[in-house]
């Protein structure tokens, strides 16, 4: 269990949130021109690294807003939280 600082509501318990997987995945502009493998790559393949990862989260039991988070998956340390559409504050 850990605390997450929702960019809208403030600090809340993790149990109020849902993880939404990897962030900053861009939908291909011309899906019809992709091969099945390329489409599957976009649709299903996600990073699951041990270390710092960019993720989407949803404050499901609060304001119900989506936001992005930079989290170290090995120790759950949260490096940054930022709104959807904003640039990551760290690289």
């Amino acid at each position: 269990m850990f605390l997450i600082n929702c960019p809208y509501c403030g600090e809340r318990d993790q149990s109020e949130f849902s993880a939404g997987g990897e962030a900053h995945i861009v939908r291909p502009k011309q899906p019809t021109e992709l091969s099945d493998d390329q489409w599957a790559e976009y649709l299903f393949m996600r990073k699951n690294i041990k270390g710092v990862q960019f993720e989407r989260w949803n404050h499901a039991h609060g304001c119900r807003k989506w936001f992005n988070m930079v989290r170290d998956t090995s120790n759950d340390k949260i490096h940054a939280v930022y709104k959807i559409g904003e640039k990551p504050p760290i690289n």
Binding site: C9, G10, R12, D13, H61, G62, R64
Partner: protein, 186 residues
């Protein structure tokens, strides 16, 4: 036809905690993003629209709660007068939904209101809630959406040791039972 009546027809009083009988009140959900929408709500309801997170504003008849940056929850203080409620809803609908400023949804039969009073209410809530009430309990008008015994709730700190708790109708009987069970252990 909206059902304003609550499935809970009960009220309980324990040492330093009281769950009072829930009056049928009307509730409206308001959604919109632009500044015109916020101004229009304030004008129609004669109330300042709360734009700061986890806050609310009230007048003698109505309470307007901040739910998210583009969502507000309106409820009446007193037992509903169906005629007045319909007039208010129609006004809001005509001024907001019809001109596509935002959405107005009557959720009177969706949410149930439970009033909690007493000096031990926060001990009861803390028994099943991950939210930290330390600052909340001293902030009159504070609002939070959180989980209580794994059930989604909206809590409005109406006054010191006087809360209004909103829960979805289908979960209300279960939450009511949980509260009555849990209060024995505090």
């Amino acid at each position: 036809m909206l059902n304003f009546n609550t499935p809970i027809i009960d009220s309980k009083e324990y040492s330093e905690i009281k769950f009072s009988k829930v009056e049928p009140i009307f509730k409206i959900n308001l959604r919109g993003k632009n500044r015109d929408f916020i101004t229009k709500i304030g004008k129609e309801l004669s109330i300042i629209t709360p734009v700061d997170p986890n806050t609310s504003s009230s007048n003698e008849k109505l309470n307007l709660l901040w739910l998210s940056p583009d969502e507000w929850f309106l409820y009446s203080n007193d037992k509903v007068d169906i005629k007045d409620a319909n007039t208010l809803e129609d006004n809001l609908f005509n001024e907001i939904s019809k001109v596509k400023l935002g959405s107005v949804t009557n959720v009177s039969d969706h949410w149930i209101m439970i009033n909690l009073k007493g000096t031990k209410i926060f001990e009861l809530l803390s028994a099943g809630c991950p939210f930290n009430f330390n600052n909340f309990k001293n902030s009159k008008g504070a609002v939070t959406q959180t989980l209580l015994n794994h059930i989604d709730v909206i809590i409005h700190n109406k006054n010191i040791y006087d809360l209004n708790l909103f829960v979805r109708r289908s979960f209300s009987s279960h939450l009511w039972s949980w509260m009555n069970d849990s209060v024995r252990f505090i």
